[in-house]
């Protein structure tokens, strides 16, 4: 009888050890989002600043009169910012479990290209449209920042 009790106890211990070993083997952790990336967060901030500056400068230093807002005047800056947006998209794309942030970057790039083409077609941009575009991108970058910052919650509780 004593032998049987010892045996049962040992097998339970073995089972528990196996459970712990299994948990340990698989890292004992679930992962739904990638780690917060401070370098990427800084890039988002920098791109947001560039876009804000682009539209503010257009609004404050140019006028729709006398072809002052012709597309070609702004073409180089459109390219510079598109390069930054492409970079943000690629940085997001290469991370596993990052489809949500990737989609936000895709939408931002898609709208940037769309509004750029509108400017090219109309060859001008009214004050109101500049304000609307500026606001739209500010809100998209905010969503991008919320998503990146949100990843911190996976490991750090809010303060």
């Amino acid at each position: 009888m004593k032998n049987l009790i010892t045996k049962t106890r040992s097998s339970r211990q073995l089972l528990a050890l196996l459970l712990v070993a299994t948990l340990a083997m698989y890292g004992c952790r679930v992962t739904f989002v990638p780690e917060y990336d401070s370098a990427l967060a800084a890039d988002i901030e920098e791109t947001a600043r560039q876009v804000d500056r682009f539209y503010l400068m257009m609004l404050e230093t140019t006028s729709a009169e006398d072809n002052g807002r012709a597309f070609e005047v702004f073409a180089p800056e459109y390219v510079d910012i598109e390069v930054m947006l492409n970079s943000l998209l690629n940085q997001n794309k290469i991370k596993p479990l990052n489809q949500n942030s990737t989609r936000i970057a895709e939408i931002t790039l898609e709208l940037w290209q769309k509004y750029k083409e509108e400017h090219r077609t109309d060859n001008t941009l009214s004050d109101g449209l500049i304000k609307l575009n500026r606001k739209t991108f500010s809100d998209l970058f905010y969503a991008m920042q919320v998503a990146e910052k949100g990843k911190e919650l996976a490991t750090n509780p809010p303060k």
């Binding site: 106890r9 459970l19 948990l23 939408i107 709208l111 004050d127 449209l129 998209l140 919320v146």
Partner: protein
């Protein structure tokens, strides 16, 4: 070895509940910001249509773009909720792991 599974489950649930409660304000703050920003954008779009700066075609196009902005905002909220779920799940796993370890050492 003694493992009180009911206590462990209750502890795990308490851990999950605490984690979600701690982070709820983050979800709420982001949602409120998104709503406020949406309101301001829609107001501006309406103003530009009234003043004629947006043609009917472009007005409709901008309203369509709003769907993309909503998608972006929902994706941002999805990241927050996934992150909270991750921390809650790992908190529960830690509690289970600790309970099993303690039971082994007592046993």
């Amino acid at each position: 070895m003694k493992l009180d599974i009911n206590k462990v489950i209750n502890d795990m649930l308490a851990g999950i509940k605490g984690t979600v409660a701690d982070s709820w304000d983050e979800v709420k703050a982001a949602t409120e910001q998104f709503m406020q920003r949406r309101k301001e954008r829609l107001l501006l779009i309406a103003e530009l249509r009234i003043t004629g700066e947006l043609t009917e075609e472009k007005f409709k196009s901008r309203l369509n773009d709003e769907k993309l902005l909503l998608e972006a905002e929902l994706n941002a909220l999805a990241v927050i909720t996934k992150a909270i779920a991750q921390r809650a799940a790992n908190t529960a796993i830690d509690i289970l792991e600790q309970a099993v370890k303690t039971a082994i050492s007592i046993g």
